[in-house]
């Protein structure tokens, strides 16, 4: 079963996240980030930041805040076990900081198959905006769905 191309253009419900210092410190620890700018408020301020900076890939976490972050995929009929993250792109418009409330709004942008349907690609584009509605970053997620039942 593949994803219905009619899904292209679907805009998902926006997701907001309060960016908390403690969460950024946990992210720094999990990723082995020893640069104190990412976990120590004094170090961040000494480096000219107004608060702990949101590291380059953390923006991906906003949509994971939903009770079921992959519901949008389930709604498209995708089996989570067969999903691979194929690619991820970020385009940055400005730095984001702890204390901000950021909102991610996603659109299903592309659906296509390769290898006779054995691999299916779903591209989701996400705009991350701040409380004033200004763009902070654009994200592009490419999912690869394996269809083991289809002979490659």
């Amino acid at each position: 079963m593949g994803v219905d191309p009619a899904a292209i253009g679907t805009v998902l419900e926006p997701v907001s996240m309060d960016i908390e210092r403690g969460r950024l410190v946990a992210f720094a620890r999990a990723t082995g980030q020893l640069d104190p700018v990412y976990s120590d408020l004094d170090a961040a301020k000494n480096a000219g930041h107004r608060d702990l900076p949101v590291p380059p890939t953390f923006l991906f976490a906003i949509e994971q805040e939903l009770p079921n972050a992959f519901q949008w995929g389930l709604d498209l009929g995708i089996d989570l076990r067969y999903v691979l993250h194929g690619g991820q792109d970020f385009s940055y418009h400005r730095m984001a900081y702890a204390g901000e409330r950021l909102t991610a709004t996603s659109t299903i942008a592309e659906v296509y198959t390769k290898r006779g349907g054995a691999l299916e690609f779903v591209v989701k584009k996400t705009a991350v905006t701040d409380e004033s509605g200004s763009l902070v970053a654009d994200l592009t997620l490419t999912l690869v769905v394996r269809h083991p039942e289809v002979a490659a």
Binding site: R23, F27, A30, T57, F60, A61, G86, G87, Q88, Y92
Partner: protein, 137 residues
């Protein structure tokens, strides 16, 4: 000045070597990133999908490469960053992240370096290939 500001096309930046990625690291990353896909945490789920064991989140490797980027220039100079996930990173793997300057161009009134990025396993398998654009001082 940072190491990047002295670079020219072809310059290879200092590599970032990651210690073995433990199951604990995967659990910590799941919590911190919010990516709790059980295929990275629960070996029974991984096996039911035909994998030998859990494997690392692609976004963890992407975060490691981002560390390399913010080591070589302040993050406010990062304009874009993208990767393709080429192969899975098994649990206990020790990836190495590398970056090479492949272009330096004037864009929107600033000099920007394009970096080719790779994360690879000790056996040479490329797990992640990508690029980033960083403004030069």
């Amino acid at each position: 000045m940072t190491v990047l500001d002295d670079a020219s096309v072809g310059t290879e930046l200092p590599a970032l070597r990651i210690p073995p990625i433990s199951r604990t690291t995967l659990a910590l990353f799941a919590g911190a990133s919010g990516d709790t896909n059980p295929i990275h945490l629960d070996h029974l789920i991984a096996k039911s999908a035909g994998m030998d064991d859990v494997f690392a989140h692609g976004m963890l490797s992407m975060a490691y490469l981002a560390r390399l980027l913010t080591d070589i220039a302040p993050q406010e100079r990062l304009r874009s960053y993208g990767v393709r996930f080429a192969a899975i990173t098994p649990v206990e793997a020790e990836p190495t992240c590398t970056a090479k300057v492949v272009a330096i161009e004037e864009v929107d009134g600033e000099r920007r370096a394009t970096l080719e990025l790779i994360a690879a396993l000790p056996d040479g398998t490329t797990t992640l290939a990508g690029s980033a654009v960083v403004a030069l001082a």
